[in-house]
């Protein structure tokens, strides 16, 4: 099982098309690193992005330097995965 300890999901509210394309650029800047759970679609919709722990610092610096407002939707993915797995095991028992 892949481990996602420390990985976070950031929720970004892009103000305009320019900011959306900055987010799309991120996918090519960080190929196969950044995983869009909700891709950049339109300014009225949030963008949810999973960022590996090792990339968090870079990515947050990129967002902040471009004035992209974000919040942390999931602080540590692995914590939720462990809860999910425990719930499945419990249900199986």
């Amino acid at each position: 099982q892949m481990n996602f300890t420390g990985d976070q999901v950031l929720r970004i509210l892009a103000k305009n098309e320019k900011q959306l394309s900055l987010l799309r650029d991120l996918e090519s800047l960080k190929p196969q690193k950044v995983d869009f759970w909700r891709g950049p679609a339109r300014p009225s919709l949030p963008v949810d992005m999973r960022v590996p722990f090792s990339e968090l610092k870079d990515v947050k610096a990129y967002l902040e330097s471009h004035g992209l407002v974000y919040s942390i939707m999931i602080k540590d993915i692995q914590v939720l995965l462990n809860e999910e797995r425990e719930a499945m095991a419990k249900s199986r028992r």
Partner: protein, 310 residues
């Protein structure tokens, strides 16, 4: 201990093996109305199964429902399982459903991407695509919702095998897509198609590959509005609705566009919960409420298809 669908927990997530075992029990226990159809084999040679709900009669008009085309969207498989149980338990009690099933068949594919789903349990919980690999391709997997022969290769899909929206080498290159397309084409009388995804709480209709409105746009808009209202009334969850390209983004090679271009007017895709805290990791405690509200929307669409033959 004899397995039974009755002891199955509908408020938990399950592995592929548990779901396939439940399907066998469920079909055995409801043989008067449900049967199991093998429509093909996945890339890694797993069975692709469809439940058929029918009260008999030949050449019934039909409704197709699929879930799990993106494997990490576990709430969709769980909703499909609950929906199956709802259909058999409500037939004969719920007049609307009874009328639908007396005149139409329902085909329900709970796990459209069995290889990807098995992989989310064994190796990578956040895997989205199928598991196909080809010589020369630097990454594994095709996005099964970009591989359809409608707008294939346009904007909103990617030709890079490492992209999460990789379209595949050619339309219907993926056995999981070809199995559905061949089954629906051979059936020839499918009048509604509902594809269940997650997450972002949307109900959408074609087109995805173009901003051009479909010719039935007005009817589909009104039907989506009614369905979303029926959903809202269950637990107060708000959905937005409209065509894929104007509500979400341009996406090409998608199931819905293929369905619509192949004569299935009532083609809808759901993006189920999450409301914004868990994403794809929606807690199991939300399975039942999500399935209950989704059912009311699905039933609204099916009832419209029943009452508006074409």
């Amino acid at each position: 201990l004899e397995r039974s669908a009755g002891s199955f927990s509908y408020s938990s997530y399950h592995t592929l093996e548990e779901i396939y075992s439940w399907i066998d029990s469920f079909v055995t226990e409801n043989a008067d109305i449900v049967s199991k159809i093998l429509i093909g084999k996945s890339f890694e040679n797993r069975s692709i199964l469809v439940l058929k709900f029918s009260t008999g009669g030949s050449q019934h008009r039909a409704i197709w429902i699929d879930a799990g085309i993106h494997s990490r969207e576990w709430i969709t498989h769980a909703t499909g399982i609950w929906t199956a149980k709802q259909i058999v338990s409500e037939y004969g009690k719920d007049d609307i459903l009874t009328n639908i099933l007396n005149a139409m068949d329902i085909f329900l594919e709970i796990v459209s991407n069995p290889d990807g789903f098995a992989f989310t349990h064994s190796m990578n919980r956040l895997w989205r695509k199928n598991k196909s690999s080809r010589p020369g391709a630097s990454c594994i997997g095709v996005d099964l919702n970009r591989n359809w022969r409608s707008g294939f290769g346009g904007n909103g899909s990617n030709d890079n095998p490492c992209s999460e929206t990789y379209r595949g080498p050619y339309p219907h290159s993926e056995p999981e897509v070809a199995a559905i397309a061949d089954f629906i084409t051979a059936h020839g009388n499918v009048k509604a198609l509902i594809s269940i995804h997650s997450y972002s709480q949307m109900l959408m209709y074609p087109y995805g590959h173009s901003l051009e409105p479909v010719s039935d746009q007005e009817e589909l808009y009104d039907l989506a509005k009614s369905a979303v209202q029926a959903l809202y009334e269950v637990h107060g969850i708000k959905y937005i609705y409209g065509s894929i390209s104007t509500t979400l983004y341009v996406a090409s090679g998608i199931t819905l566009d293929w369905a619509y271009d192949n004569g299935i007017k009532y083609a809808f895709s759901f993006e189920l919960r999450d409301t914004g805290s868990y994403g794809f990791l929606l807690p199991a405690s939300q399975i039942i409420p999500t399935a209950q509200e989704t059912w009311m929307a699905i039933r609204t669409i099916m009832e419209h298809a029943l009452n508006n033959p074409y």
